[in-house]
């Protein structure tokens, strides 16, 4: 089983989706059960994977099968493969995905309208997310990356809130724009790179590992790092990096291309919000760490200050927007923008600490934001109203709910003992050390970014005070009686999330031991090759 673990993870949901397609739509329970069984199977596969994973041993569970091989005569051979594997970057994210998708399925239990369609789309989305995190062939990655869009679009457009049409189309257009930017670079890259393992006819491969090796570039290609071709104001490679950067930054999302996120979050049904925040955003950060930085380390190094600056702007601006939000879900959405800024800052530091912090932040934010969106969903389910100012003194009426809110809010604002703290402290460490180790970030950026923590504390504490403390009273078109405390299903969803957040806040070691070797290697590689390629044009 071991050599096919990743394929099993990937194709089980697809097969289940195919099976569901041919079942009659009448019995809603069938589709829920199928999806839960798929999730449970994925957990089993993941456990086997985790047990057999050797930290620090690089890529593992690699599967490589030829997919497309076209012999184009003099031009060479076009080669794409089914190439998957996991390392210290993807393993935490794959684990997160399996865990969160399980949670999302449970949270979808209350979906009653067109259950068949919903769960089929959810299963397709499941496979696409796992695929994006494990693909090591650019074309395969792109397939999964785009394959997420259509199910997500329909999930928001069909099961979303009142302004779902606007939100879903905005989501689709923004993310498609991002993926087109990535597509442009993908085409330019695979034409420019040859497979070193073959001799004779030129083989243009989509293999991401080949692309990350500067010696594999064909010397006449525009993107050859040794040629350093100028295109207008910037070198060609800088342009390519910028396209990739903005392509992934839309997904991340980064200010100023973040505007689709609050709308999508506010309108999406709770489980979809959870997947969106916990997993889809991570693909932006993952893409930067897997594709943009290793393939264009020189351009990334040159623009490191810019990436860091955009990260800091996202942190501050996202935080300020969160503070100004009147809707609870919108507040959480903006806090996501703010937290994903740390990922940018960490990666841009070009240090092992910063990189590890960025990956840890992606993992931790996946847990925390899921919890936050589930909590917001709980309130919305009861009253259909998420306006912060309509609530006061909920702590007395909903004590268990408030306890979970406290955990989630404190985790999100970065209190020690919660997973967010570990991630952010590492990012700050990296950002402060960057300049000393020859990285591109100035200390001042790290200092400004710490302001983000203050803002985060401000909006969370303020919200706590407004909504949960003080005398109990509500406004709007609902009564206090509707505010019942958590039911068993909600409790069952929230408890594992809370426990995971606490566990990874108190014992970072298990996860760090996976991430750290990767982060060391990544930072050393991008810093080294970034500098050497820049210095010797």
């Amino acid at each position: 089983m071991q050599p096919y673990l990743l394929s099993l993870l990937l194709f089980t949901p697809l097969l289940a989706a195919l099976l569901s397609l041919f079942l009659p739509a009448t019995s809603a329970a069938t589709f829920r059960i199928i999806t839960v069984v798929v999730n449970a199977l994925q957990v089993v596969f993941l456990l086997v994977l985790l047990v057999n994973y050797q930290a620090g041993a690089g890529l593992q569970f690699v599967e490589m099968k030829p997919w497309i091989t076209l012999n184009m005569g003099n031009w060479g051979i076009l080669k794409a493969s089914y190439f998957v594997g996991v390392d210290g970057l993807s393993l935490p994210l794959v684990s997160l995905a399996v865990f969160i998708l399980f949670i999302a399925t449970i949270a979808s239990w209350k979906i009653t309208q067109n259950v068949k369609g919903y769960f089929i789309l959810l299963l397709i989305l499941n496979a696409a997310i796992i695929g994006s995190f494990t693909a090591l062939d650019f074309l395969l990655f792109y397939l999964f990356f785009e394959f997420m869009l259509l199910p997500m679009f329909f999930l928001i457009a069909l099961w979303g809130g009142p302004k779902r049409e606007y939100a879903s189309i905005k989501f689709f257009l923004y993310t498609l724009l991002g993926s087109i930017l990535i597509l442009i670079v993908m085409i330019a890259l695979y034409v420019s790179v040859h497979d070193p393992s073959t001799s004779g006819q030129l083989v243009h491969s989509f293999n991401l590992l080949h692309m990350a090796d500067a010696s594999n570039f064909i010397s006449t290609s525009v993107l050859d790092p040794h040629r350093a071709l100028q295109l207008g104001p910037f070198p060609a490679r800088t342009w390519a990096f910028l396209l990739l950067f903005f392509g992934f930054a839309i997904k991340l999302p980064m200010v100023p291309v973040h505007t689709w996120l609050p709308d999508a979050h506010v309108e999406a049904p709770t489980p979809i919000s959870v997947i969106l925040a916990a997993l889809l955003l991570k693909i932006g950060g993952y893409g930067l760490a897997r594709i943009a930085f290793p393939i264009f380390p020189d351009a990334a190094f040159d623009l490191g200050w810019f990436v860091g600056l955009m990260g800091v702007i996202s942190i501050i601006y996202g935080g300020l927007n969160a503070m100004a939000s009147k809707d609870l879900k919108r507040l959480i959405a903006y806090s996501s923008v703010s937290h994903m800024g740390f990922v940018l800052l960490g990666l841009a530091s070009f240090t092992a600490e910063g990189t590890a912090g960025a990956v840890y932040q992606m993992f931790s934010h996946g847990l925390i934001s899921s919890m936050l969106f589930v909590l917001a969903g709980v309130l919305a389910d009861r009253t259909n109203d998420r306006t912060i100012s309509h609530y006061s003194g909920l702590a007395g009426k909903m004590p268990t709910y408030t306890a979970f809110i406290l955990v989630a809010f404190f985790a999100s604002l970065g209190l020690p003992g919660f997973s967010g703290f570990i991630a952010e402290i590492m990012v700050f460490l990296g950002a402060f050390k960057s300049a000393g180790l020859g990285g591109p970030l100035h200390e001042s950026l790290a200092i400004i970014a710490t302001l983000g923590l203050v803002i985060g504390a401000a909006y969370y504490l303020w919200t706590l005070q407004r909504m949960f403390f003080g005398p109990l009273h509500v406004k709007g078109e609902f009564s206090v009686d509707q505010l019942s405390d958590l039911n068993r299903r909600e409790y069952f969803i929230l408890l594992p999330l809370a426990l995971a957040i606490l566990f990874f806040g108190i014992f970072p070691q298990p996860l760090m031991s996976v991430i750290d070797p990767y982060a060391q290697h990544f930072a050393a590689f991008v810093l080294e090759s970034g500098k050497s390629l820049t210095l010797n044009p």
Binding site: L150, E165, L173, V191, L231
Partner: protein, 494 residues
């Protein structure tokens, strides 16, 4: 006397290679004759025309298999038979067959059915000849053969709108034909030869770079661009598309387009003269592609009628096809043929279901509201078609675009021309624009709720054919190697 004998034997040899065209001509005669019989069954006519197309496909296929030499000049250099033309002919015949299938499934009875089928066959025959033409006169004759029949066919809805569309088509067509003829006569004067694929033509082109050459060739291009519905000679398309019967539009969106594309490829490659031409034809074609993409996509955004929308979509698709030619690299032509094949499949997929929905009373975009919840499978298949036209994975539309733009990037790497980079970036960004309108019908169908109510019957011919086309479009994504393997055997000789 020996000369005559030689000529006769050459003509005899030419006729064998002209098998598919002879089949088509026979089909035309048979259909027109059958039309004279008063009580002829409609089914007989349909079967006859389908049979003609099947036979033409079979003969084309056999000819490709039996091809011994790279290319053969027929009738003293009037036509050229090579694997390029055979492949395009095959695509054209398959499109013809699919059109017959669509016509057969039309709810409304088609008036003058035998003439209708005869015209379809005539256009197909003209398209065959156009793709093979290397002589300017022959180009003009076959282009007119396609055009004149198209004008008549465009009005076959026998409605006021149909007449209007047909007349617009005719007026536009005659102007661009006139421009083309003028250009051709200048070219003849400048080179002294009608055969644009000959060495003489190229020699004159290189040795006497006069601005008149540019004007003449540019005017000549007008006729092809018009046939392809490429900007700036596109304005007829939406009107004709809106007014003509659905199978006719599906046919127009493929057959004249591919025929125009085929001859345009030959003609521009001759003009390009292996990069030795003193005029930058790459620049011209890139601009035309860019303009078609932009005009088509942006105009489509505001359309409310499904057929008009497809008219603008067809203009934009011409732009994508032209990208493959504009690259002027050998694999660009191969990739263009791949995209053309995918285009045939996705085009008919979309039109098949648009016709199906039209028969249920859906014509404006808004009217599709709620149909996706009742007619699930047809709507899903239509969605796949639109996703393919947008160019998203996992459909062949994506693979085609990926290939075409790869060759463009290659061309850019070789020449370093900014316009190619511009075409690449704007061409791909156009996908985002196109998504917005391609997704509108599925959006109304699935997301909006409507009052439409019907008991769906999924076991229909449409759904069988639709399923085949859907599987085809998906297959071309997951395994493009098979088709590309065939296309790669095409030896493109000018």
């Amino acid at each position: 006397m020996e000369d005559v004998a030689e000529q006769l034997s050459s003509i005899k040899a030419s006729f064998i290679l002209l098998g598919p065209e002879l089949v088509l001509s026979t089909g035309i005669v048979v259909l027109v004759t059958l039309g004279l019989i008063k009580k002829i069954q409609r089914t007989t006519l349909t079967v006859m025309s389908a049979l003609t197309f099947v036979l033409a496909i079979a003969v084309s296929f056999a000819l490709i298999r039996a091809m011994t030499q790279e290319s053969a000049a027929l009738f003293g250099g009037m036509l050229r038979h090579d694997s390029f033309s055979s492949y395009l002919d095959l695509l054209i015949d398959i499109s013809g067959l699919l059109t017959v299938a669509m016509t057969w499934r039309r709810q409304q009875e088609q008036r003058a059915l035998s003439e209708y089928y005869a015209l379809l066959l005539t256009i197909t025959l003209g398209a065959h000849l156009l793709v093979m033409s290397v002589n300017l006169l022959m180009v003009f004759l076959s282009l007119e053969m396609v055009s004149l029949s198209s004008y008549a066919l465009a009005g076959f809805a026998f409605s006021r709108k149909g007449t209007e569309g047909s007349l617009k088509y005719f007026l536009f067509g005659s102007v661009s034909s006139a421009a083309m003829l003028y250009g051709f006569s200048l070219l003849y004067g400048l080179t002294g030869t009608m055969d644009f694929a000959s060495g003489e033509f190229t020699r004159h082109l290189i040795s006497h770079p006069s601005p008149l050459f540019f004007i003449a060739a540019f005017l000549g291009l007008a006729g092809f661009l018009y046939k392809m519905a490429a900007a700036p000679l596109h304005p007829w398309a939406p009107d004709v598309y809106e007014a003509a019967p659905m199978p006719v539009i599906a046919f127009f969106a493929v057959v004249p387009k591919l025929a125009g594309l085929g001859v345009l490829t030959r003609f521009t490659l001759a003009l390009y003269a292996y990069g030795q031409s003193s005029f930058d034809w790459q620049f011209v074609l890139s601009l035309v592609a860019l303009l078609s993409l932009t005009v088509g996509n942006f105009s489509a955004l505001w359309q409310k009628n499904a057929k008009r929308l497809m008219g603008y979509s067809s203009i934009a698709q011409s732009g994508f096809l032209l990208v493959g030619v504009a690259a002027f690299v050998p694999q660009g032509i191969h990739y263009m043929l791949f995209y053309a094949s995918v285009y045939v499949v996705m085009n008919f997929l979309v039109f098949l279901y648009l016709q199906y929905f039209e028969s249920l009373g859906f014509s404006t975009l808004e009217s599709f509201a709620g149909s996706g919840k009742i007619l699930v499978w047809p709507s899903v298949f239509l969605l796949v078609g639109f996703v393919a036209l947008t160019g998203l994975p996992p459909t062949g539309g994506f693979t085609g675009k990926l290939f075409i733009f790869s060759s463009l990037w290659d061309a850019y790497q070789h020449s370093g021309k900014g316009v190619l980079l511009l075409l690449m970036i704007f061409g791909l960004l156009n996908t985002v624009v196109s998504l917005f309108y391609y997704l509108r019908i599925p959006f109304y169908a699935f997301v909006r709720s409507g009052e439409f109510n019907a008991k769906p019957n999924y076991l229909t011919f449409e759904n069988l054919l639709g399923l085949i086309l859907v599987l085809g479009v998906l297959y071309l994504f997951f395994n493009p190697g098979l088709l590309m393997g065939w296309i790669n055997k095409i030896n493109f000789v000018l």
